[in-house]
């Protein structure tokens, strides 16, 4: 198409016109609007926020999010007796639940300490103090158990020392509170600190004795496999491969000095032996930890 042809076609578009009846109706309709508008129209236009309508859904959602976050943030500063204190407790419990298995005892310890601090600030609510004291004592009983559940000895030792460090001021905080059963709580704190100390001591000992213990266990395993080669030959190829892999890893761990990791793998081999109901034989032929 040439430019001339295009311009001719564009010129033809000039024939487009609105319906004349509609055009006349529209004019008369618009003219009637003037009087109404003149009365109500303000001389100075106020600032309009009408543009916000198009973001209505997003704004409502954002407002809820802000309200939600600020409620949680404000709740963290509340004390027992306040309406929002259950929100704070809920947040603290969620923190414990979401913490990794290894770090859980430290998080629980930090929160127990925070709860003791809150308890020390209350001056007029004995019932709330008694309830808090009970919950704190439950937590103090749970923490040592959680420390024992940590599978890696070195991690367990590190976490226990952190817990011990956090637990230093517990008694001072407890003495500042209104708690009537303060002796009971203090006794629990003493027991808790003793348990943590004992756990640190035994774990350190276990780590220090690891090389000797590892050599003994390895020798016993080797002896067992040599003596029972016919029984072991009946196992599935998967299990034999698994044990070979463990033994190769143990050999590597010993070379690089990872005694504790090698020990964990020996425990895994022992578990396989237990599945075959051979644990009694192994236990009798392997030395105690």
């Amino acid at each position: 198409m040439t430019e001339k042809e295009l311009l001719e076609q564009l010129n033809e578009l000039k024939s487009i016109k609105p319906n004349q009846n509609w055009a006349s109706w529209l004019l008369s309709n618009i003219l009637t609007k003037r009087h109404e508008q003149a009365i109500v129209r303000p001389r100075v236009k106020l600032v309009s926020f009408s543009f916000l309508h198009q973001y209505q859904k997003a704004l409502v959602s954002a407002a809820f999010v802000v309200l939600f976050i600020s409620t949680f943030a404000f709740a963290q500063t509340t004390l027992p007796g306040n309406l929002l204190y259950p929100v704070k407790t809920l947040t603290q419990n969620a923190k414990i639940a979401l913490a990794s298995k290894d770090y859980k005892p430290v998080v629980r310890m930090q929160i127990t300490k925070a709860r003791l601090e809150d308890m020390a600030k209350i001056t007029d609510q004995e019932q709330a103090v008694a309830l808090m004291s009970q919950n704190i004592q439950k937590d103090l009983q749970t923490i040592p158990q959680e420390l024992k559940n940590i599978s890696k000895k070195q991690v367990a030792l590190q976490m226990s020392k952190q817990v011990q460090d956090e637990a230093k001021d517990l008694k001072n905080l407890s003495n500042n509170s209104l708690n009537k059963n303060i002796n009971n709580l203090n006794q629990n704190i003493d027991e808790f600190q003793d348990k943590v100390f004992a756990f640190i001591f035994s774990t350190e000992e276990e780590i220090n004795q690891c090389p000797t213990s590892l050599q003994d266990k390895l020798a016993n395993l080797q002896k067992y496999f040599t003596e029972n080669i016919q029984i072991v030959a009946q196992w599935s190829p998967d299990e034999i491969t698994k044990i070979r892999t463990f033994l190769a890893d143990i050999s590597n761990d010993i070379k690089v000095g990872n005694c504790l990791e090698a020990m964990e793998k020996i425990e895994s081999i022992n578990q396989i032996l237990q599945i075959h109901s051979l644990d009694i034989k192994v236990e009798t032929s392997t030395p105690e930890n």
Binding site: M1, E3, L6, L13, K17, W22, W25, K33
Partner: protein, 181 residues
């Protein structure tokens, strides 16, 4: 602006403005709605379309004088079309909403119909396919007979820019039409 002044302005521009809008939207009803809103806004704003002494002495000097009212009405129309396409993805205005906006519906139905030849229909569709900035200048200059000076005022650009834009727009439209042929 007196009723007489507005009526005169309306009669001079209704065909052009309607045409400009109709070529940018799909349906004739949509074009009628947007044309209604455009002229209603001009009227409600009480712009001294014709800057007469009478208008000034009537106490309407709070509104700035519009040196080119035709350009102004096209600016309003242009914004209304943009609003229409923005709202199109949401929901159509209900009859009640149209009334709230000050648009009375006709008491009797006007059977509006525009017969376009095959070539004109093709041209209209091609105008809608190219960038709005191009189709606008083509319609204003070649269909509504606006000068480059008037277009420059609507777009707030200088005349040279408008000439360049027109040239480019025409080339693009030609390519678009040839593509379809």
């Amino acid at each position: 602006m007196t009723e007489q002044e507005f009526s005169q302005f309306y009669k001079n521009n209704i065909n052009k403005v309607f045409r400009f809008i109709y070529l940018r939207v799909d349906k004739i009803e949509t074009a009628e709605d947007i044309t209604s809103q455009t002229f209603l806004k001009v009227w409600q704003r009480q712009i001294p379309v014709i800057a007469s002494d009478e208008a000034l002495s009537a106490g309407r000097q709070e509104f700035p004088l519009i040196s080119n009212p035709t350009a102004f009405v096209y600016q309003v129309a242009r914004n209304q079309i943009i609003d229409f396409y923005r709202q199109k993805n949401k929901k159509p205005l209900s009859l009640e909403e149209l009334k709230e906006k000050g648009i009375d519906l006709p008491q009797k139905s006007f059977i509006s119909q525009i017969e376009l030849s095959f070539e004109m229909e093709n041209l209209k569709k091609a105008l809608q396919r190219i960038k709005p900035a191009y189709s606008e200048v083509i319609i204003w200059h070649y269909v509504d007979d606006l000068s480059t000076k008037e277009i420059a005022q609507i777009l707030d650009k200088n005349e040279n820019n408008v000439r360049v834009l027109l040239h480019r727009a025409l080339e693009i439209l030609k390519k678009e039409l040839n593509k379809k042929v």
